[in-house]
Subunit: 318 residues, 2 copies
């Protein structure tokens, strides 16, 4: 059905150079090799592509048509193959990374920007989604790796066979917070189970059980029914609502770092250490990591250990 592709390559060079010898030089072949390949292509297509004119080769109608087909491809290939072809000595090429929306918008682009200043040949494609869609994309090859809030160990992910390698990269601290005025009025230093239990609560729709978990973690007791005055499906909106003083809510510590520093938002600590949520790097177990992938992974984890960011992630340590 389809002709031999290498012969198309030979044809392309002969056509552009209008010469068999020149094409042979360009292709690092002998003249007879090119001559024969061309003839075989003509035999395959059952149509002459050139009329042999004593000294020159003159393309026929079929030759002209074929060239118009082949030319854009070869040109494009010549342009873009270097972006795909990987150098072994330095990171290059496309990196496709998934992350939770909050983490992705806040930190990832910064990492990418700095990384690109070191290795300008690296390109990024970031996807921000929930855990399950991200894992699916990794599984199907749409992502090189994903940063996911995972509470599971490798092999325990429901719906996925044991195909992932899961490496924790960062602890997110989940803290109960409220606005400064709300704190003064409603809490005023009393962090007891009894006191907190009957306040107003705001929570994220995606993970409504987080409040229960927080109480369990800090007091080893589950509250019966909390007074949830609002549910939202965006972490930003949740923080806004908390700042307005609508009540108490569990927030990711590093995302309210600034507000806590300014005293706008007050964390409610207990004698227990903070509740933590692991952000893990998930990738296909069998995937041989590219130099680029490895370098960025290391870069990212290094950046995360950096004082400034780490501080934010541990800001609310009692």
């Amino acid at each position: 059905m389809l002709p031999d592709f290498n012969r198309l390559k030979v044809f392309y060079h002969v056509y552009t150079l209008n010469s068999v010898v020149a094409a042979a030089n360009e292709l690092c072949l002998s003249q007879p090799a090119v001559s024969q390949q061309l003839q075989k292509l003509e035999a395959e297509l059952k149509v002459p592509l050139f009329t042999r004119l004593h000294k020159k080769l003159v393309p026929t109608a079929a030759g002209e048509q074929l060239f118009k087909l082949v030319e854009p491809f070869v040109d494009k290939l010549q342009d873009e193959i270097s972006h795909i072809r990987q150098p072994q000595d330095r990171p290059a090429g496309l990196l496709r990374i998934g992350a939770p929306r909050e983490f992705g918008t806040e930190y990832l682009p910064r990492f990418c920007h700095i990384f690109r200043q070191l290795y300008p040949e690296v390109m990024f494609r970031l996807k921000f989604k929930e855990a399950i869609p991200l894992l699916t994309m990794v599984k199907e090859g749409g992502l090189d790796y994903a940063l996911v809030d995972v509470y599971f160990k490798a092999g325990e992910l429901p719906g996925f066979p044991d195909i992932f390698s899961i490496d924790p990269v960062l602890k997110e601290e989940m803290i109960l917070v409220c606005s400064q005025p709300y704190y003064q009025q409603e809490i005023a230093g009393d962090h007891s189970f009894k006191n907190l239990l009957h306040k107003e609560f705001i929570t994220d729709e995606d993970d409504p059980s987080i409040l229960t978990l927080w109480f369990k973690h800090h007091f080893r007791k589950s509250p019966d029914n909390l007074n949830i005055v609002m549910t939202l499906d965006s972490h930003e909106a949740l923080i806004s609502a908390l700042k307005l003083g609508m009540g108490l809510g569990v927030a990711t510590a590093h995302l309210v770092w600034d507000e806590i520093q300014r005293g706008e938002i007050v964390p409610i600590a207990t004698t227990q250490p903070n509740m933590v949520n692991m952000i893990s790097l998930v990738q296909l177990q069998d995937k041989v990591p590219t130099l680029t992938e490895k370098t960025f992974r290391n870069f990212m984890t290094a950046k995360m250990q950096q004082t400034e960011i780490l501080k934010r992630f541990q800001c609310a340590e009692p």
Copy 2:
């Protein structure tokens, strides 16, 4: 520089089918053959294109990129290769023909239309130009063949080495004509050299010597200086001027056939047979004619011998 093209073909099939065995079947190869070619491509590009996941192959970023490069080409090739690939049993493909404007506009499209009803796989590209540009295009491969008013024999064309084969296909009769009123007033049956010599003349700018040639042909004498009242560079305009009664002019017989039939235009004959101009089919001597080319050539010459057209070309026979 560029990778092995056949491996790209293998890659294309593996990617689309997401399976080495399936690709092997489609390519009529064994499974290890495909497996090896894929590995060699990866080695060439120094980048893994798939992560081998137990049962499945999952494309990497590089694989995805490469596929985006290769896919449109293979798809286009699959679509269009059949238009280039020539069947041996029936005419098909593109035919690029050149002709003089007058002949080309008047007859060629008709021929093409009828021919396409017989062989719908044939496409045409017609070019209407003067003799020299047409010959140049044939020489450089822009045309498969050209119909040209040629006064030369093969090998005698100035500026061209002996690369053409020239076959006369049609005699155009060149006749001296004028409008019916002009004829009655100025000629009135007197077709003698002496009488004609001092009339008004109109001629084509491209070939001003045609009048001299006409006199030479019919009376074996060249006129000294004719009273040329207008020169034009379009045959249509020349005929218009003649019809208006501006004087005498040499026209191509078949192009004024209708006007002569209607008595609008009167041919001026002598005892000599009409002066003829050969329309020849010119092509590269060494070009092996395609089935399509041969078929259309035969078709065209047959059509030209057909009563209706032939009559026009010989309408003014004395």
